[in-house]
Amino acid sequence: MEKVTADALAIDPEQVAKEIEESLRGTVSRELHRRGGVVGVSGGIDSSVTVGLSARAFGPRRTLALLMPEADSDPDTLNISRQVAEAFGVETVVEDITPILEATGCYERREEAVRSVVPQYGIGWKFKIVLPSVVEGEGYRLFSLVAQAPDGETIEVRLPAEQYRTIVAATNFKQRTRKMLEYFHADRLNFAVIGTPNRLEYDQGFFVKLGDGAADAKPIAHLYKSQVYQLARHIGVPDAVLERPPTTDTYSLPQTQEEFYFSLPYEGMDLCLYAHNQGLPPEAVADAVSLTPEQVQRVYDDIDQKRRTTRYLHLAPQLVEDIFDH
């Protein structure tokens, strides 16, 4: 039986970078009739690589790095994002989105939902939403809310469906506000909005519809996250980004992506998704990800379920009948 190792995802980064640049140039000029790219830069690996690729494809002067911090953002986010823009020589615009989020009631609606399950939640408290690991057991996994008091004491409670949905819906204002501003600048400059999802996020529906899920082009959506890291090192993404753990930077308490969504750290998730895509049995990848075949099977099942449940995120508005000939 063919065994999967981390080498399965090794790429020739220069070759891949060139392919992406060519595709971006062609798509943006010929299909979209725009002359550059706007990228929302968060200081994470995906947006850093994307802005770098955009700068290589269109030139630094035809790439805009949009930095959009808000009240819950990690204080390092802005500095790291600036380092990224500087590394690729692109102009930055900073749009603090906190006032917009306040006006939409993002924080207030969210905190009201949190308080309905943790009544003592108030000023100085922080929270995040977590999901148990899929590899730990066969049971269903329910979202919990972890709240931290100003003195550091933490409380974890299972989230009722209504509160969970309200917190997520209110939080989605962040991604949708950012996208609105990306399109403002794209329209102003006659640029395209370049989206930043990697393959894990795109495949597993880890994005907000009409938020970070919206873009004119998604140049790294076909790359596994470990391939994005290879590309990042090659094109000169600053070390501060490469060394930063992938987080959602969405809730007031730091939250890793696997706490909230993915079953495993990205290296393992990449290999499981790759093996599953290749139609390989769990035994083929179990050693590489240090799991039992039964645990890998649970990861496979979780991948399939996420594909089913997030399919609607990918769908365009559904019409009763086709309007254009395809």
Partner: protein
């Protein structure tokens, strides 16, 4: 023979009668749980044109009726409607992935609650 006349029965028959009554009561409870549950599923999920067609042993997850948030909703409903507390260890397909499994699980939880 009516129940009121049961005092004239030999003890063995009386025990059988009680068992029968208990079983009937349980059956009625199970039917009520299933009815409530079907109403909840029909009101909250898309069960198609004829919700009564959903088989008692059909997997709710595999049928695409319930996703991870749907399970959250189902657990909340069961806890409130049937006054039970479901632990994380009990969040298993054998307890929650079909109408039949849910009815059996609710019955066991209620009996355990009464015995406690």
């Amino acid at each position: 023979m009516g129940i009121a006349a049961g005092g004239e029965n030999p003890p063995r028959n009386r025990a059988t009668l009680c068992e029968n009554l208990w079983m009937e009561q349980n059956q009625a409870d199970s039917q009520a749980v299933e009815r409530d549950l079907r109403d909840f599923l029909a009101a909250n999920y898309f069960l198609g044109d004829d919700p009564s067609q959903l088989g008692a042993s059909s997997s709710l997850i595999e049928a695409g009726l319930i996703d991870s948030t749907g399970v959250l909703e189902l657990v909340g409903y069961l806890e409130e409607q049937f006054d039970i507390r479901i632990t994380n260890e009990e969040l298993l397909p054998e307890n929650l992935d079909s109408i039949q499994n849910i009815v059996g699980f609710v019955e066991r939880k209620r009996q355990a609650g009464q015995a406690a």
